[in-house]
């Protein structure tokens, strides 16, 4: 890698000092995607700013009214094993366990992973379903960006170049929230995603409401399909499921990749969603 300065600020003020100079700065979280770009010389920063020492960036706080606050430097392995995640956000827990490898999960941070806007970013799917919000800071302001508004397509996010995610907030979800993540990949560890989907719904009496469908690999970004979600409200029967799946197909724009054609990605997504929806509905029948 070409030479750069490595700075590990202990405060946002200190970080600001480096971001407001006329230097090329890249943010380092887990380095999982950054390192690839540094090695290729796609990026040649003057400064690498390591956010892992910033206050609050490792916070994990859950309250049943307020939901979950996760500092941006919390690693993915915590999502896979953390007790509060397992208990209160099982869809996130399930997805994280299947993500990448232990080596990657132990380094990749939530903030860095969310900021990487790949259409196959698996972390984005449950975050979208849980209505997560990114809290950000830049030298000019702090703001919140719902994950649903974070991805602009083509690997771009709504983040400004000097804007850092400080923490992520997930609202509280009731106990009878059912979620499932399914994917088909070429290799069983998750490499080369053909399509993936996270699906969620909240049980209210004998119906399922607040459906969330987040899809991967079938558009230029991870995204929700509100058109399908609206159709599924209630206790959907086969016909409604069929219409919802159709609505999904009408609202995705899959691309060919060398290992999967776009029409195949559509077919796979359809199969995954059909199974996911049925799986969630089956929770209704059990109790």
């Amino acid at each position: 890698m070409k030479a750069f300065d490595y700075i590990r600020p202990q405060s946002l003020e200190e970080a600001e000092g480096h971001l407001t100079q006329e230097k090329r700065v890249n943010i380092l979280g887990g380095g999982v995607t950054l390192f690839l770009e540094l090695q290729n010389n796609d990026l040649t920063p003057d400064i690498i700013l390591d956010v892992k020492a910033l206050p609050g960036f490792h916070d994990i706080r859950y309250h049943h009214n307020h939901g979950l606050k996760l500092g941006a430097a919390v690693n993915l392995q915590h999502l896979a094993t953390g007790l509060e995640i397992r208990r209160h956000y099982p869809l996130l827990n399930q997805t994280a366990q299947e993500l990448a490898s232990p080596q990657i999960r132990n380094r990749a941070t939530i903030g860095g992973t969310l900021a990487w806007a790949s259409p196959v970013s698996e972390l984005a799917a449950p975050m979208l379903c849980y209505d997560a919000t990114c809290h950000t800071w830049s030298p000019r302001r702090t703001r919140t960006i719902p994950v649903n508004e974070l991805y602009l397509g083509d690997f771009k996010t709504a983040l400004e170049p000097d804007e850092i995610i400080t923490h992520i907030h997930l609202p509280s979800f009731p106990a009878r929230t059912y979620g499932i993540y399914q994917r088909q990949t070429v290799r069983h560890d998750g490499r080369r995603m053909i399509a993936g989907a996270a699906t969620l719904a909240i049980r209210k009496h004998h119906t399922l409401t607040n459906w969330r469908i987040a899809v991967l690999g079938v558009d230029d970004r991870p995204k929700r399909i509100p058109e399908a979600e609206a159709l599924l409200e209630g206790a959907p029967d086969e016909e409604i499921i069929h219409l919802a799946l159709q609505a999904v197909q009408e609202n995705i724009h899959p691309q060919d990749v060398v290992y999967a054609r776009s029409d195949y990605r559509r077919a796979v997504l359809n199969a995954l969603l059909q199974r996911s929806i049925h799986s969630i509905i089956s929770n209704l029948q059990e109790s």
């Binding site: 390192f35 490898s101 232990p102 080596q103």
Partner: protein, 155 residues
């Protein structure tokens, strides 16, 4: 930019001067001659460079040396003690967990990380723990068996 860093490597405290852009992999291999930590891919795909960093298994090719300041690092060279080989090493020998051997150090480290967490892992748990370690010889079945047997050994 140079950094004076300290860390504990295989139980020994060390001080080093490193450049910002040096990876932990480079520093371990070149400055400390810990060549069990292997170059495999430089993209975090193969796990041949796996080390324990504060007890967690990571790809050292994806960690800057300076990020490892004030941490404890374990490589395969640090597994054996004066009393002899680590049960994992013994088991890999006894149960054919080694063919060409290039992936072996990384496998040991991932296995150590697993056994630190779970004393008697199921086969499925072992498979999951090793998913980031590639073995081109295809020795996974015997590697998994080696780990299972080692997990039952007393130390």
């Amino acid at each position: 930019m140079k950094h004076e860093i300290q860390f504990i490597i295989n139980g020994h405290a060390r001080s080093l001067t490193v450049e910002s852009q040096q990876t932990l992999l480079e520093v371990l291999r070149e400055d400390l001659r810990l060549t069990s930590v292997k170059h495999g891919c430089s993209t975090g795909e193969c796990g041949a460079c796996s080390v324990l960093l504060d007890g967690e298994v990571v790809n050292s090719c994806m960690v800057l040396a300076v990020e490892a300041a004030n941490t404890e690092i374990l490589t395969a060279e640090g597994l054996a003690t004066d009393e002899g080989l680590h049960p994992l090493q013994k088991s890999f020998i006894d149960h054919h967990g080694v063919q060409c051997g290039y992936c072996a150090s990384g496998m040991l480290i991932s296995a150590k990380a697993l056994l630190n967490r779970t004393s008697r892992p199921h086969e499925e748990e072992i498979r999951e723990a090793l998913v980031g370690n590639l073995c081109r010889c295809g020795a996974y079945a015997d590697i998994i068996k080696s780990i299972q047997v080692a997990s039952r050994a007393r130390r």
